[in-house]
Amino acid sequence: MALDKQTAAKREFKVVGTRPLRPDGVDKVTGKALYGADLTAPGMLVARILRSPHAHARIRAIDTSAAEAAPGVKAVVTAADFGAPADEAVRDVLVNCMAHDKALYDGHAVAAVAAISEAAAKAALKLIKVDYEVLPHVTDVDAAMKPGAPVIQPGRQAETVGTEVSENVTHYCEFGHGDLEAGFAKADHVIERSFKTEATHQGYIEPHACLASFASDGKADLWCCTQGQYMVRNLCSQIMGMEASQLRVTPSEIGGGFGGKTTVFIEPVALMLAKKSGRPVKIVMSRSEVLRATGPTCSSSMGVKIGMTKDGRITAGHAKLRYQGGAFPCGTVEFGAMAAFAAYDLDAVRTEGWNAMTNRPKQAAYRAPGAPMSIYGVESVVDELCQHFGLDPLDVRLKNAAKAGTKASYGVTFTDIGLSACLAKAKAHPHYTAPLKPGQGRGVSCGFWFNFGGDTCVTLNVNSDGTVSVTEGNPDIGGSRASIGMMAAEELGVTFDKVRTQVVDTASLGYNEVTDGSRVTFAVGLATIKAAQAAKKVMCQRAAKIWGIDEEAVVWEDGAARPSGPNAGQFPPMTLAEIAAVSSQTGGPIAGHHEVNADGAGVSFGVHLVDVEVDPETGATKVLRYTVFQDAGKAVHPSYVEGQMQGGAAQGIGWALNEEYIYGDDGKLQNPGFLDYRVPVASDLPMIDTVILEIPNPGHPYGVRGVGETSIVPPLAAIANAVSRAAGVRLTSLPMSPPRILAALDAAHPAAAAE
């Protein structure tokens, strides 16, 4: 659906672009909103999961007889209770939910017990005897790729992978164009660096939770916190060997996801326990279970080589990316390889990516999955080249910036994009020229994300009292009920308070893809606008009927049907409320709906600017000032757009400075708690200023682009560049925790270290 750019740019919005109070606000500030763990059912059992204490072990046998006989225990399940789904990806999800012949990582689920109380369930777990044969393990990506490394799962290698690496390497991918050698030959200076980033966790505050019930006639109900109820239904029905229509999934309010709730971990287990026991079963994960067994990001090891002329033109770029995504095949490195050089208009560019399996939990998506690491590597080398030539880092990025018509390294040709506009805004912002003190440094980085659309379905009912009910199928993870309702109000010409948006269960609306890829405001918004247009068409028909004129002779303007052409002015306009009030006499209820596989999401760029101070005594970094510039297309509810920009930046700051999965030599996760896995707290951060740019997305009727993910991409390099400039030494490993910074300082100044 192409948009007439002129109309979009000139269009005067009445509701879109304002900041109404979110409709679910009162429920969420009073404690009424029901999240995953907040529901109980009569006769409900509580289940707990037994997890592997070993990083890698063959499961020779599991004896559950004592647990089954324990007081209060109603059901025990192991892998033996499940069949093998035909689809390989679904089978991987099941094996991740319940280990089959091997425990693949520390914390891998092995068995589960449902009992009349949590205490009874916990006591029964101790009675389960698992006979393990401990196997050699590997958790580091480079070690896992070496020939001879312990093999996590044999036979999972794609044909594109060469034979010089271990069987753990499942994927190889390659993108780019142009003559690299000629490009590097044209450069006045070439820098090649190696980088490492550690795995981080999405860190949503709400642990996974679900409540399942299963009737003996094969119908099941599931309540859970998820980013996508339809995804849960499809995965669980395949795993349970049931028809999708027999499983109704109702999403609770969701306490954060960031990509981590785009798959299932406990839901099939709860369903199987409910089936076996005949009682509703609730599972709530503990924080340590969340960290040990749900989706962290990939960790990475990368090599980046870039050539530049002395006036700042990039002549060639080459990145080699090695990601590990846990104990299962994982394609995330492909996104990293596609995104690495997306910000640049290059004649010669190449990215290669490898994924390796390790004895770690199965990777799950985390906000712009794969992109933060690769772009961190590229943006660090660009910064070092700027330092080498004494060039301004924003000028250099402006000189090389991708723009409309640029052929991206991953093959597409960009249409309207906002990168240069963000860079120019950053350059003109007072933050960029504010003075810095000794020991302080300023860093810059670009960021990019593809954005997605996908399968979407919306129903919009016009009620006889003149109000509007929008039914959508994507959990409201950060204010989307507000933005969807605003777009409905805008299109219908009614005020926002007349619209109520409901997120419904899988039986109440057609399929919707998960809340991911920054797709909801774009795709659900688009479907809502189209559904509103369909309802307007019906209302024009009804008005035509009332007036006794041709329906073509009625138009919808300013929230009312009006006679047009020769009939203009003949009848007073009829508002939505007036038409709705008599709908029963004119043909029955009025509704509009729209189903689409939305494309045209429109890529997203941002630029971050950060000042830091590094304490050379302790190695601690303080973030002093932070400004985010991002192209939002059209910002529907600017407060929540700002919120996405600030939240992503804060998560990126955590990734850059503190957060990491730490594995011991024994392959066990050493920091499965918020005390040692340290996410940024309020006193770690300054205010995060935001500058929203609005370069309309040609693929959306109002010009909307997704905004949720890009903001986590730039902080890694922006902070690394700031720290490197402040400390006077280039940091190439994340997180830049105090010990790492001290080690880098000592290495750079061995004399001072010896004192």
């Binding site: 900041r19 109070l21 979110r22 679910d24 606000g25 009162v26 969420k28 500030v29 009073t30 404690g31 009424k32 909103a33 029901l34 999240y35 763990a37 907040d38 109980t40 205490a119 999405q202 860190g203 949503y204 505050i205 709400e206 642990p207 309010e253 969701i254 306490g255 954060g256 996801g257 960031f258 709530v284 503990s286 924080r287 993870i477 950060g478 204010g479 509810h637 407060s639 929540y640 700002e642 919120g643 600030q646 939240g647 992503g648 930046a649 804060a650 998560q651 708690g673 918020f674 005390l675 996410v679 940024p680 707290v681 309020a682 006193s683 770690d684 951060l685 205010m687 995060i688």
Partner: protein, 158 residues
């Protein structure tokens, strides 16, 4: 283990319940009294999602035993609004868009209210340190801090 009979006051109401000796106040509030507004983000005192007041003092209810509530007054998020009237902090949180997913919000509101009762004129730094025990993963804290400062300013004027 036999259960303990606890008499306590929650949000001004006298209530009683039976609990296990090792049961947390958070579990008793959520599972025995149906007050699910307090959330469990960690169970180890690291996230603040379970924040309540005990005789006016801010505590992590996951670190308090239910039996310790005997004879004391517990304040939870459910007691913050008076009928239909939201507490000024609750109103400001909505106005400032200081919540995204909202799961940290009950704990942060309870903690912020405790702060303003102690210190009606906090600096930004004081607000940030007071709330350092309340994790929010969605917002980057910016709008939360602004909402608290703005409420404090309004309350001082009132």
């Amino acid at each position: 283990m036999s259960r303990i009979h606890v008499n306590t006051t929650v949000n001004g109401d006298a209530v009683d319940f039976l609990c296990e000796p090792d049961e947390t106040l958070l579990d008793a509030l959520r599972n025995r009294l149906g007050l699910t507004g307090s959330k469990e983000g960690c169970g180890t005192g690291d996230c603040g999602a379970c924040s309540v007041t005990l005789d006016g003092r801010l505590v992590c209810s996951c670190l308090v035993l239910a039996a310790e509530a005997e004879g004391r007054a517990v304040g939870t998020i459910e007691g913050m609004a008076e009928g239909e009237a939201l507490h000024p902090l609750q109103q400001k949180f909505i106005e400032h868009a200081a919540l995204q997913c909202g799961v940290c919000t009950p704990g942060i509101l309870v903690a912020a209210k405790a702060l303003l009762e102690k210190n009606p004129d906090p600096t930004e730094t004081e607000v940030r340190y007071w709330l350092a025990g309340n994790l929010c993963r969605c917002t980057g804290y910016d709008k939360i801090i602004r909402a608290v400062m703005d409420t404090a300013a309004d309350l001082r004027r009132a």
